[in-house]
């Protein structure tokens, strides 16, 4: 029943006659969503996440390209034919129905028999912790109760090709968020649906998904495991967006193994070919303070102790840079330089990560 979803040359513009790349809300994209995998679609608001989701579910017809379910072209097929469940950012409930009727609605519309509906509604009612309210009208409920119903209507269908979530936990309070996310993971584990979970919250994305798809400005900039996104951000946006605080970027001149940052030479450990605007990206976790003469001059402006570790706010040539040091580490007296741990250095040309020469990408 479940399916591999293929996006083939897909792009979408909300304008009738898009002229330039900027007119596209979703830029050309080729991707396979593997059957049974849990994906998170991560990006800031307006980057095309919801557009992509609506194209997959059939609420939107793309201006270019094809959508395939297991090789079958469904680009122009209506939502009903695709058998997909989708949960939206803002709760949608049928006001005049009870909670039970709300949960049963998608099954009833598909002509399922009453006993099976009752069984599934009971199961989902328990999952969303609303068993006691099944006979209440949906109208008077709070926003997060309504959103739980919306989630429930998605989860009640066990035979879907894919489950799509469009920032579904925005209106839910933090404690319930954990609870529901755990339930979603359990659902994924039990039924093995392909799940695509749209969010702008990196924690949510990283804890939910096997693979995270990062979008920026209508483009997919990286698809990878949480570890890959952390260690090897393919685009400066990924570095900046994932991590807390995000990756530091230094403008640099790169020549073979050496980068010069504000005139200070830094050994990169590998050779790179300079091409366009070059930047060195280093996550705060990989920045060390130094009291010796090596390293880039820096001034400590502030130390924030967040409990697990300390965040150092530094100034390097007029730019703010962040570093993280262990909770127990002593900040050395007179530290006025920083160095990079070699394994944490990434090199970017025009915002895209480049691989060292002689190494595959």
């Amino acid at each position: 029943m479940m399916a591999k979803i293929t996006l083939d040359n897909l792009a979408h513009s909300y304008l009738a006659q898009p002229r330039s790349d900027d007119d596209f809300a979703l830029k050309e994209l080729n991707h396979d969503w593997a059957d049974g995998e849990a994906y998170a679609l991560l990006g800031s608001s307006g980057c095309g996440k919801s557009t992509l989701l609506n194209i997959i579910s059939g609420l939107l017809i793309p201006s270019q390209g094809r959508v395939l379910f297991d090789g079958r072209d469904v680009t122009h097929a209506p939502t009903a034919e695709r058998n997909i469940a989708q949960v939206f950012q803002f709760p949608v409930v049928y006001d005049t129905m009870t909670v039970r009727e709300n949960l049963a609605f998608p099954l009833k519309n598909r002509g399922m028999d009453a006993a099976e509906i009752a069984r599934r509604v009971q199961r989902v009612g328990k999952m969303i912790d609303m068993e006691a309210q099944l006979n209440h009208k949906a109208r008077g409920l709070t926003a997060d109760a309504k959103q739980k119903i919306s989630l429930g209507r998605g989860m009640v269908r066990e035979d879907v090709n894919a489950l799509l979530f469009d920032e579904p936990l925005t209106v839910i309070d933090p404690h319930m968020k954990w609870e529901l996310r755990t339930q979603l993971k359990k659902l994924h584990h039990d039924f093995g649906h392909t799940m695509i979970y749209v969010t702008h919250d990196q924690t949510e994305a990283l804890t939910f998904a096997d693979k995270v798809v990062v979008m920026y400005d209508g483009r997919v900039v990286q698809i990878g495991t949480p570890q890959e996104l952390f260690e090897r951000p393919a685009h400066t946006f990924v570095g900046y967006f994932i991590g807390s605080p995000g990756m530091n970027l230094f403008d640099a001149q790169v020549d073979g193994r050496t980068a010069r940052i504000n005139g200070t030479p830094v050994d990169l450990g590998h050779s790179y070919r300079a091409d366009g605007a070059m930047q060195i990206g280093v996550r705060p976790e990989f920045i060390r303070l130094s009291t010796t003469e090596d390293g880039i001059p820096a001034r400590i402006r502030r130390v924030e102790d967040v409990g697990r570790h300390k965040i150092l706010r530094l100034e390097v040539n007029g730019h703010e840079i962040n570093a993280i040091s262990g909770e127990g580490d002593v900040i050395p007296e007179g530290a006025n330089r920083i160095t990079f741990a070699p394994e944490g250095v990434n090199v970017y040309a025009n915002d895209w990560r480049i691989s060292p020469l002689g190494e595959a990408a």
Binding site: N54, S57, G58, L59, P78, T79, A80, I84, A85, Q86, F88, Q89, F90, V92, Y94, D95, T96, M97, T98, F105, P106, N109, R110, N135, H136, K137, R139, G140, S150, R153, G154
Partner: protein
Amino acid sequence: MNKTVNQKAWFLVLPVLLLVAFSAVIPLMTVVNYSVQDTFGNNQFFWAGLDWFRDMLSSERMWDALVRQLIFSAIILAIEIPLGIFVALNMPKRGFWSSFCLVTMSLPLLIPWNVVGTIWQIFGRVDIGLLGYTLDALGIDYNYTQNTIDAWVTVIVMDVWHWTSLVALLAYAGLRSIPDAYYQAAKIDQASRWAVFRYIELPKMAGVLMIAILLRFMDSFMIYTEPFVVTGGGPGNATTFLSIDLVKMALGQFDLGPAAAFSLMYFLVILLISWVFYTVMTNLDKRDGAQ
């Protein structure tokens, strides 16, 4: 928080009190005054007690007018509300044609009532009116000045023409307030067109529809100008609704006492029906929410 007590604040209510007194209370009291007195002219009045009320309650003329009025309002509501919803559902949602429809449909609402009456009076005439002449040419026997059914049909079609737009505009406003996510969720849930109407659109329109029903009920129950211009209450008394009868009595026959008693009862009937309707609707609402 400490509230300052200052009895002088009552003076701030005074302007409103005066305004309401002059605009509503005093005129109403004049009517009450007339309803309990009799006059033979010369501005001389005699106490009549509740005689006029008793007279009116046993007056066949008033009961007939009331029955006609109720039938008229019922027919109007039964046509205009569903038709208005139907029109609203089929209007374009955005773009040029949506504005075009809104403007076109507002036009009948802007025409003065007696002009509407005149338009239909001429429109329906068999000798020079487009409608009357066409029907006549098609061999349909139509004459609103002589045939009761024809007169009713004309008055009702006129009211539908004049006021369905109002219901449609209100319903349209209700529909436009439904976020797209509802329709998208309904698609995902594979809801039929009927289910979308029944479970999404109708509940979201309920508030404005209640206002539409109240407005159309009150207006149609008080209707005067248009049928008066078209049929003058005829043929016979066939289209003599409450207001027409009231004016005949008060100004035509100058029976101020009975007419005043009549108006008070008329007023109370409208108030009563509106109140019952409103209470029932809001209670239905509350019961829904609580359960």
